[in-house]
Symmetry: C2
């Protein structure tokens, strides 16, 4: 019997605004789509949190023995500067400013994105499709929406007809927006737009002469609207109806609302069974923004190159910090908070290592099976990682008591505890088994100890020992250098 | 004055079969296209050599202060099992066998490819376009070739008309094949093919019902021919005429020959100024092949998991080994050869480190400027890395003589030597500054030294010192454990 049949997972569905029992469309299989980055700048820490949340979800689903197809796209065309279908393509703009080809921008920031996500121990998705890789499919979807009567062409551009759609379906079903209010409150169009109504959104835009990313289509040489790629690629790789669609909270409207409208308009069914949204990350209590300087880049944390932190922190500590909050809660990043997380992380990893040194007893004073189910209960309650971590620390307490013989554990329970700690800490939470201090510190410390011993030998006029330490270190490729203000060393090759 | 104006680079052009002075189409800029992998299996060591050769070329061009746009594609559709346009798509076949979506195959092996190439310190190309990302552009190119009269449609497939093309142009210009001989010698078609002549090749293939990778086109729902993607993408990102086209020797015919034909047929000009081909890698004197077992995977070398080698070798040693041969020579990989390369590599890296310890003299007994020009001369002679490496070892010899005061170097020459060694060893050859032995060896050695000192203290009944060593190591997180057969240690977290 697969694990998912023994553990009842509940998931908060942004569509129903309720926690629901998770039951995928096809038993044993999960199709999950998560909106990926627009690759025109370095990935920011808030994005890292979003993708880490869905990585944790992906890991837990796999742990429950679901076969998961996880699709996360790369937006490499079509994402304009603002949501009203105006402004330049973000990638093309960056390319124009730097005087390079747009696909060079895409390459640079896709590599950065992969690199950063790998640092934080995120598993790669099963498929990572791109918008430019699905121009043909996007054009086919536009044709279908036009055929169904929910879109119109004007001057080579095609727009989705939101009001027409809303007559039969519900535009605003996800975000809770009421389209009639929006129509009532919105200003009239200034005449420069081809849209019938300001709520309409572009499926295809005719390219201005200066627009460098362009493809032929039945309507014009142009480019697809941003919302279209996700409908196209989720349908292609997961089917017209699939299980989970995730993304950052900020994508709920208009992006995800438009995705629903496009899918429903083209085939009449709700595309997604469970919509899931990850909450945002703030820095020192305020929204992160490059413009205000209240910003921190992921690499600045582990390279220790930001004045917002007193020291560097390994990526695993950052991951631990983020998973200490529930994915649907706002989380505030600060120097104090990450320092506290480092202490907790080290304590947890230390306990996992201690586990291998424990000797079993005849009986257990700690009910491991009950504890283990509490860990599952936490995760089954909409992936409640803070509660899971609290449970792991309950185990840490017991491990440290067993170590000093103030508690006991049987052989079977010790085995179960080891397996469970391994599974939740590394497989599910994805925390890496690394010390948060640098490995070279140990060598430094040991060499410093030898230098100290040599200094003592020298002050005792024990030149034999003093020379011996120097020579043996030299044989190991470590050169001591005596100077007025003390002894330093250098390490060969 | 940029460096490329001071150093005259000559490049062996496979098209003219001569070394030619390198003069890019637009002064100061180089457009370079290299055929990348078909991502349906793990990248093999021969491919690693090919991509490393072009990485070295890319690095040297950048070193010469050219602005290089380096495009290397990913073939994720259209590459059939054999060159006669027959058989299954390689990626689709793998997907069918493993019962997964083709793009899952693509994702897995693209990640593997990136990971392996990064291990061997290859720089990422400027753009890494995919075949599926350019279906629209490929269809447009087919239309153009049809319009020019060099292709024909049969039953929804489109074929390039090689004989018609050869009436006006020269099919075989690169590979030296004479099409008339081929026509004369080839068997007649068996009637199952739609082709007019066996030499013709597919531009578009109508998809069989079982073919899972398919796109709409004016001719049929189908997929592009393999040769087409490279013509399409090189033109899109580098223009109708560009400077360098590279690839493995095995791609010369038919792949590159077909690329030339497609480009010339569509716009009448030779697309590439310098064709460059890297030679193959053999293993113990024989062709590498999975089927015969005479095969070694890149990761097996640095993980030490092949019975073909006595130990593991760091990727930088493999890189050094490969660059010891000229990129146009066949190179044989063997246990003895890589062990010898490791010694050479370590000697080179050691000398680079020694450089920083050298003290300058008033005069030089070593003519650094002349030596430096010899390094350039080697690279300028069609990227002759074995000669460059021989020159670097001339410098190693001098560095070691200066170290023991048997040779002298002036301050300015020392500076020039440092800069040149840095530039050629790390920037151009891309050798990483790593020791081929593990870093943890040093810590092991130093701790062993302390254990030895503690044992001596104990045999002298100096318990104060003995305890002190144990306690101070413990504070550093290193636990000593005394047992009957000696003292061992463990390192915390």
């Amino acid at each position: 019997m697969p694990l998912y049949q023994k553990q009842e997972l509940k998931v908060y569905n942004s569509l129903s605004k309720m926690k629901e029992v998770f039951a995928p469309i096809q038993e044993g299989f999960v199709g999950m789509y998560v909106c990926g980055p627009t690759v025109y700048s370095n990935v920011h820490l808030g994005n890292v949190r979003t993708f880490m949340s869905f990585d944790m979800i992906y890991r837990y689903l796999k742990h429950l023995e679901y076969k998961v197809r996880y699709v996360r796209n790369i937006t490499d065309a079509g994402h304009l500067e603002n949501d009203a279908d105006e402004g330049e393509d973000r990638i093309a703009k960056k390319a124009r400013i730097e005087n390079i080809e747009p696909m060079e921008v895409v390459q640079r920031y896709t590599l950065d994105f992969h690199n950063i996500l790998q640092k934080f121990n995120n598993l790669p998705p099963s498929i990572e499709p791109t918008a430019t890789g699905h121009i043909v499919e996007q054009i086919e979807l536009i044709k279908k929406i036009l055929e169904e009567g929910y879109a119109y062409e004007v001057n080579g551009s095609v727009y989705f007809d939101v009001l027409k759609y809303n007559e039969k379906y519900h535009y605003g079903i996800l975000s809770g927006r009421i389209i009639e209010d929006a129509v009532h409150n919105s200003r009239t169009l200034d005449g420069q737009s081809d849209k019938k109504n300001p709520q309409d959104f572009a499926l295809w835009k005719k390219a201005e002469p200066k627009h460098i990313m362009r493809w032929p289509s039945p309507w014009s040489i142009g480019f697809p609207g941003w919302h279209l790629e996700c409908s196209t690629m989720s349908t292609k790789y997961l089917g017209e109806q699939f299980d989970i669609h995730g993304g950052g909270m900020d994508l709920k409207f208009p992006h995800h609302e438009c995705e629903i409208a496009q899918s429903v308009a083209s085939n009449g069914v709700q595309p997604v069974k469970y919509w899931m949204h990850a909450n945002m990350l703030t820095l020192n209590g305020m929204k992160m923004a490059k413009s205000t300087g209240n910003n921190i880049l992921p690499a600045e944390i582990y390279e220790g190159t930001t004045d917002k932190l007193n020291k560097a922190f390994v990526p695993a500590v950052v991951r631990f910090f983020m998973l200490q909050a529930h994915y649907r809660s706002i989380l505030d990043f600060s120097s104090e908070a990450i320092e506290a997380a480092e202490k907790g992380y080290n304590k947890l990893i230390q306990a996992v290592k201690t586990l291998s040194l424990l000797a079993p007893n005849d009986t257990s004073s700690f009910d491991v099976s009950a504890w283990r189910q509490k860990c599952y209960d936490a995760m089954n309650d909409d992936f409640n990682t803070p509660i899971l971590i609290a449970q792991l620390f309950e185990a840490v307490k017991q491990i440290n008591l067993i170590k000093v013989a103030k508690a006991t554990i049987s052989k079977d329970d010790l085995q179960l505890l080891k397996e469970s700690m391994q599974a939740f800490t590394f497989d599910v939470l994805g925390l890496e088994n690394v010390d948060s201090s640098k490995g070279s510190d140990k060598l430094e410390g040991v060499v410093a100890l030898l230098i100290k011993m040599r200094n003592e030998a020298r002050s005792n006029n024990d030149w034999t020992l003093s020379d011996k330490i120097r020579d043996e270190l030299k044989d190991l490729g470590i050169q001591l250098k005596d100077a007025k203000d003390g002894t330093t060393y250098s390490i060969d090759s």
